[in-house]
């Protein structure tokens, strides 16, 4: 079997098979398609969950490289990362995620860290509005600003308490122009997704393989992969 067959053709054929069965299962009735589709989905879920463990291996290799060459300013952080990571995995396998001790770890590490992390974009957004939001006297900017201010004021109870008119205006902006524009975007993006999916399933789109074009046989002979 040539390299091109095993490295390119067979994976592409596998995508066509998996995608084809999933599509056919939705539109056609035979039980065999339903069974095959169900099994493929289970396989897909398993491979998806394995990716976490692949991530563990990947980050371990990356951190090990940084530690072994004593990357300045960060090698000790990688030591801490690996230590905490493996301790966490061991603790999590001994105590289930529903155990009180794991809940304690989760609340005081993950919840604290990520809630604080997600507080940073709020500050950045306000700084961005302060620095970058330039109100110019052109139609698009005026519409943007008017829509922004009307929805902003009606979005919180204070605005509604100041003037009850904000609420119906906000409702109109959200339900008519925004929803209609969004509908156009949704249809366009969905057509793009369907197009990309069909191109990939039929083997025309192969960027997921990590290559931009299929190499010829002579080019392949010179390649390491």
């Amino acid at each position: 079997m040539s390299r091109q067959t095993t490295k390119v053709f067979l994976p592409v054929l596998l995508v066509a098979f998996a995608g084809g069965v999933i599509l056919a299962e939705y539109f056609f009735a035979p039980q065999i398609l339903s069974t095959l589709g169900s099994e493929l989905k289970k396989l897909g879920v398993l491979i998806f969950s394995m990716s976490m463990i692949v991530g563990l291996v990947g980050i371990s290799i990356n951190s090990y490289k940084k530690i072994s060459r004593r990357a300045p300013g960060e090698w000790y952080l990688h030591v801490w990362l690996l230590a905490l990571l493996y301790v966490w995995v061991i603790v999590g396998l001994i105590y289930t995620p529903t155990h009180d001790f794991y809940q304690w770890l989760f609340a005081n590490f993950i919840t604290a860290l990520y809630q604080a992390m997600l507080a940073l974009p709020a500050m950045s957004l306000f700084v961005a509005i302060y620095r970058s939001y330039k109100v110019k006297f052109e139609l698009n900017t005026i519409l943007l600003t008017a829509s922004f201010l009307l929805v902003l004021f009606a979005g919180a109870p204070l605005g509604e308490a100041i003037w009850t008119g904000f609420t119906p205006i906000r409702s109109w902006i959200i339900n008519v122009p925004t929803a209609s524009a969004e509908r156009g975007l949704i249809i366009t993006m969905a057509l793009g997704v369907i197009g990309l999916s069909l191109r990939t399933i039929f083997g025309i789109e192969r960027t997921w393989l990590g290559i931009l074009r299929v190499p010829t046989a002579t080019e392949e002979e010179g390649e390491g992969e």
Partner: protein
Amino acid sequence: MLEPLGTWIALAFTVMILSFGLYKQNRFFRFAEYTAIAASLGNGVVVAIRYIYSTFVEPPMTQGGLSILYLLAVVFAALLFLQFVGEYRWASRYPMAIIVGVGLGVAARTSLETEVVKQVWAAMIPISGSGMDLFNALLSFVITISVLAYFLMTPKYKGNFSYLLKAAQAFLFVGFGAKLASAIPMYVAWASGRIQFILKVVGLM
């Protein structure tokens, strides 16, 4: 004893992370950042291992028998790890092919019904009635058509079609303003979690 210790740990991490926004990049922030990565990945691995064991390992062991699916799953899972072995990196394309094929198949089949057919159906509201109802129906129709034309037909910037383009841009900007205004409560809500925590720790809430 664990509870007060946990509170101090959470408070310390909160201050370390917020120091980036309220002061500047510093070592404590980087330490907290690496801690977050380790904890989050650790949690993900724990959950994944437990799921794989309970769904794919324990049933064959307790019920006996090996299905073809189980064998395929073991083979494909092993192939995923070959991406770290330079010469055999291409072998990880096989399990990726399953994910890509199944994922795209699932996305495509339901996109057509939910995001295309039903949205087109919703756009085809009768342009009738009077007053605001008529105005809203007409405006919705015009906006949907112009935005679709803007993205699908890429009308030219000159000539009569440029008006369609400019109209679509104007309507999109109205939507962007609404989206920006909707993003603000989202971000401040996320930030409020730690604010409430700090207030509870100091006994003010």
